[in-house]
């Protein structure tokens, strides 16, 4: 079994059972189980999660994308500053970037005030952080390759076509 085929299949749908994965990859359940464990141990598979459109729930969440300017440290470069940031539970995603800002940090919180407080009290004061610029998300159109803003139509195809 090629691990990339397993990964691509799981990336599209993490809810498939090992049995279904074995059928789709033309292999055995044992082989699938062993391969997933190996990829988890190597930290290639880092977790499974669900793509949720919270706008359609009663649950209020606020997402903000924050550009963070930073000065690298002599011994550890950007990594130690990054660690100071990504360790906070509020941070859902973080990247080291080329371009104007060093980091992009994505924060999820319950209210705008909660996110603002986090930026002002936790993020901006970290040693090495020189600047932050916060952009609040107004509407989520697409996440993880899934379009959230449109409902799936019925199959537009004819039922039988030779």
């Amino acid at each position: 079994m090629e691990d990339i085929k397993l990964l691509k299949t799981l990336e599209n749908n993490a809810r498939l059972s090992n049995h279904e994965l074995a059928l789709m990859l033309d292999t055995t359940e044992d082989a699938v189980e062993a391969e997933i464990k190996r990829l988890e141990d190597k930290n290639v598979i880092c977790g499974f999660h669900t793509v949720i459109n919270y706008d359609l729930t009663a649950n209020e969440t606020v997402t903000a994308l924050i550009e963070v300017g930073a000065t690298p440290k002599r011994d550890t470069g950007y990594d130690s500053i990054a660690k100071e940031i990504y360790r906070f539970n509020e941070v859902s995603t973080m990247y080291l970037m080329s371009g104007k800002s060093e980091f992009i940090v994505i924060i999820k919180g319950r209210t705008m005030k909660e996110v603002s407080d986090f930026v002002a009290r936790k993020l901006a004061v970290i040693e090495g952080v020189t600047r932050t610029e916060t952009y609040f998300v107004l509407k989520q159109y697409k996440a993880e390759g899934i379009i959230l803003a449109e409902k799936h139509d019925e199959d537009p195809r004819m039922k039988v076509k030779l």
């Binding site: 085929k5 691509k8 299949t9 599209n12 749908n13 498939l16 279904e20 074995a22 059928l23 789709m24 990859l25 033309d26 199959d155 195809r157 004819m158 039922k159 039988v160 076509k161 030779l162």
Partner: protein
């Protein structure tokens, strides 16, 4: 009114599965695995180029042979993907591969000419031959040979009147392919008997365990091959109606003449979409193909779990499922399945006599749909075999 019909039109066979069609189409709850087209939407960058073309006055007649840029791009594509070398003068862009088949027949057939078709096959070949005044000669392919064409089968049916043979590998409905070594024994025979080969390679991009081999890659008979392909299956562009013919320029010229008189040119903005697909669509093909491969494996392995034999089809997006152990013929099987279990598959007999005993399952549906449908197929099979 029947007396007004031409003798040729009256000869065109009527579909024998009308009742099945009507039931499948009239029940919205039916899960259909009977659709011969991808479920994916056309990739957005292709739609974007076509709508751009439409909004920027590319709405006039274009070159009757197809946009020059498109024909050039098709030559580059055939070289890049299949190692085949052609010139734009050898390409004619058609309204899908369907026009291509009809046009070829009308260009090369004289009354009484025999044209060989392989059964089971796509339903449009025989009518095109009949309407052109030709005679259909059928080779019954065997499931034991994985529905491949063999030397003996071909040798037996060639007569002095044989003009051409129509091939369709990867095949609708069987999913069979022909590899280089499968073709090799046929090449001298085709050359010696001066057969034209019409090779419908509309599924060329969808082969799974072996790379596609075009019969046009055999230099000894390249001039005898008329290659047909198009955009419907590889790029999920069925409704765009763009296909093409590649053949010797001396054949393309008269075909282009007929094509100009009958349809002028395929829709201009569809051709701009096709141009974008040809130039920048290789990645889309790979993405769709890997999804098709997972689905193929899923369907075949589910059938095996039901305790039935099923070979892994090598191309297209069909599993030609051997239902003989159920004791039903293919039409009765499909009718019972749609009536009692709300799942549509196509009876193999719709594709010719040697399709009997099989049904065509299209796996151009999401895994969740395939799962639900196969659960129901399994219920029916269990009840039939238990009886």
């Amino acid at each position: 009114m029947r007396e007004y019909l031409s003798k040729r039109a009256a000869q065109v066979p009527v579909s024998g599965i009308g009742e099945f069609f009507a039931i499948a189409n009239s029940r919205p709850q039916v899960i259909s695995l009977a659709v011969g087209e991808p479920d994916f939407d056309t990739p957005w960058h292709i739609i974007d180029e076509a709508t751009y073309a439409m909004k920027h006055s590319r709405t006039h007649y274009v070159d009757m042979k197809g946009l020059r840029t498109l024909r050039e791009a098709i030559c580059e594509y055939q070289q890049r993907r299949f190692g085949l070398s052609f010139r734009p003068e050898e390409v004619l862009v058609t309204v899908g591969a369907s026009e291509a088949i009809d046009l070829i027949m009308r260009t090369i057939i004289d009354p009484g000419d025999e044209v060989i078709v392989l059964s089971p096959c796509y339903v449009a070949y025989a009518p095109a031959i009949i309407l052109a005044g030709g005679k259909v000669v059928t080779i019954e392919l065997q499931s034991e040979n994985d529905f491949k064409l063999t030397y003996d089968q071909l040798n037996q049916v060639i007569t002095p009147k044989t003009k051409a043979i129509i091939l369709n590998y990867p095949s609708n409905p069987t999913g069979a392919i022909m590899t280089k070594s499968d073709y090799e024994p046929l090449i001298n025979l085709i050359k010696d008997r001066h057969l034209m080969v019409i090779s419908d390679e509309i599924y060329a991009e969808l082969t799974y365990d072996h790379p596609h081999c075009s019969i046009a890659s055999f230099a000894a008979i390249k001039e005898q091959v008329i290659l047909v392909s198009g955009y419907s299956k590889a790029y999920a562009m069925t409704g765009w109606r763009v296909g093409y013919i590649i053949a010797d320029e001396q054949l393309i010229k008269p075909m282009a003449q007929i094509h100009e008189y009958t349809i002028m040119c395929p829709t201009s903005f569809s051709q701009y979409g096709a141009l974008e697909a040809t130039r920048n669509g290789d990645h889309d093909i790979m993405e769709m193909k890997s999804e098709f491969e997972r689905r193929r494996n899923y369907v075949v392995n589910r059938i095996k779990e039901m305790g039935l034999a099923c070979r892994m089809p090598q191309g297209a997006f069909y599993v030609f499922f051997d239902i003989r152990p159920t004791g039903l013929n293919s039409y009765d099987f499909a009718l019972k399945l749609v009536k009692e279990y709300d799942v549509a598959v196509v009876p193999g007999s719709a594709f010719g006599n040697s399709g009997e005993g099989f049904v065509r399952i299209s796996y151009a549906s999401a895994i969740s749909e395939l799962k639900a449908a196969l659960d129901r197929i399994e219920m029916m099979i269990k009840s039939l075999i238990a009886d």
